[in-house]
Amino acid sequence: MTCDECENRWLELIAGELPPDEGAGLREHIAGCATCSHGFAELESAMNAVGDVPLEEPPARVDDAVMRAARAKVAGMDPAAAMRGAAADQAGFFASLAQRWSRFVAGPQVAMATVMVLVVAIGVWYLPHADLRAPMEGETLIAPDDTSAAPGSAGATPVEEASEKGASAEPMASAESFDQRKLEAQEIPTDDLKAPSGRARRAATDSLAMDEGVTNALSDGLVNDGLARKKSRKSMVGDDMLFDFEGDSDAQRYGGGGSGLGGVTANASTRASASGAGARDEAPAAPAPTKASSELATTASQLFTEARSLAASGRCADAVKVYGALLSNYPTFASRALAYDEQATCYRKLGQTSLALAAEQNAKSVRATESKVAAKRAASRPAAAEPAAALDAE
């Protein structure tokens, strides 16, 4: 017997699994071989040190599940289903389920999917309510109540002037406030104009604080204003931006809640630039009057006429309210300066001198802006007229 052959049987020799004669032969070789003797002693020592492995007892639920599967097999049923059913009946089922679930959700893919679902869910929940949230900081600076605030306050400051000065954020914020009111008014179906919805009525009433008659008139105007904007939308870049914010659909709002203020700001500035370019019509910034803008002109004119008649009949308090509504909601109304003057007159009759002075100041501002616009037009005309003049000369 070689040492290799002997060493190959040590484990069985230690375990006592060899036939007696073979075991005796091995022990004889080991006793006479120093190398094998040393190696065998080490292995025997290791085996004694390690010993057997203590057996573990499986839980009773495992036994139950297995035996239920076996009985199901004998009964001709599905043993796997029976085992699952046994697991479901076991008291520790929920612990097992929780452990499986925790393993599943511990994966990075599940974590990412959960985050994405949360983000989308929060967005879907929050954005449709964005217009119902509390006014933002810029909005709180506005005094939209034309009846209680001075007509010469920032809310009534001509947009053109604000744009050119570029200093005060209030006129822009004021435009935002009007746009939001218009947004709410736009949501009123045309058929319901005579009976505005509660939301539109509340928006018009709360924000403008007008009496019932004036509110109805104003609502009509706002709705018509919105219709006119829709009809002339494609032809007006500035109003496209306005509509992007004002939200014809929720999908546009989902484009980003943070873009709302930017949209409003852009709208205010584009409207100002459109007005500054000479678009002086009741339909704000409309380059070419349409049927709807004509209707708006009529509505603004009606307000102007009503205000004048009220003033003429001595109802100055009502007159200043109608003037305020007109000037607040029709920033491109052609006769704004005149309206401010007449409003100032009414204030003086009411003894409200400071308000009268403010209105007169606004009238001056409007006229100054108109003069600048006229000067710009005059400066641009000769250049455009030169080719025509050249043709005439030929």
Binding site: N8, L11, V53, P54, E56, V66, K73, V74, S96
Partner: protein, 204 residues
């Protein structure tokens, strides 16, 4: 192995179960339930997984009882099923383990323990290992230090007392390779147990 095992052979019990005798299976299950559960617990080091896998092993036995032709011993067949399920489980766990858990805890620890080694392992804490002087916990900790291929041979040999020829059939390697793995496992375990003894002595 129980002494009553030799009363009726495993293969005969399985045949009777295939013929519709549920009590034959009960006797067969009673012979192997602790051994299989112990083997899986020591292999996976996850008791909850071991419970599931033990059920799954015997479910396979129930489902395939009719397919067993008696060409090998029942114990060899049973441990083949058990080993395959343990390997599948090990692969699933390796796949599910997050990459960041496999990374070293610090960038300068190229060969250091990963977070997964410290967090996801069901091993006993080192201080608990030192304090524990029970045979079970010492063996548990020592076995964790043995490579998988050596551990499975050791477990089949020491838990179920399979012969090396049978283990070679289950594992699919030559018998001499099985014996080598067994000797390596014994040497590692002896060394690990000796270290634990030293730690206990120092702590005491």
């Amino acid at each position: 192995m129980d002494g009553t095992k030799e009363t009726i052979a495993d293969e005969e019990l399985l045949r009777r179960f295939g013929a519709g005798d549920a009590r034959a299976f009960e006797a067969l299950y009673d012979r192997y339930r602790r051994q299989i559960f112990t083997f899986i617990v020591r292999s996976t080091r996850d008791r909850a997984a071991a419970e599931e896998l033990t059920q799954e092993v015997f479910l396979r036995v129930v489902q395939r009882a009719d397919d067993f032709k008696g060409q090998s011993k029942f114990s060899t067949w049973l441990y083949s099923i058990t080993r395959n399920l343990c390997i599948d489980h090990s692969r699933k766990m390796a796949f599910r383990r997050h990459r960041s858990l496999d990374a070293p805890l610090r960038t300068d620890e190229t060969g250091g323990a990963s977070l997964g080694d410290r967090v996801a392992s069901d091993d006993l804490a080192p201080d608990r290992n030192v304090e524990s002087n029970t045979m079970r916990s010492r063996m548990e900790a020592a076995l964790a230090a043995v490579p998988e291929e050596q551990r499975e041979v050791f477990l089949m040999r020491q838990v179920e007392h399979l012969s090396f020829a049978e283990i070679a059939l289950v594992v699919g390697v030559p018998e001499n390779t099985v014996k080598s793995r067994m000797r390596y496992a014994l040497e590692r375990l002896q060394k690990a147990l000796a270290e634990f003894e030293d730690n206990v002595a120092e702590a005491g």
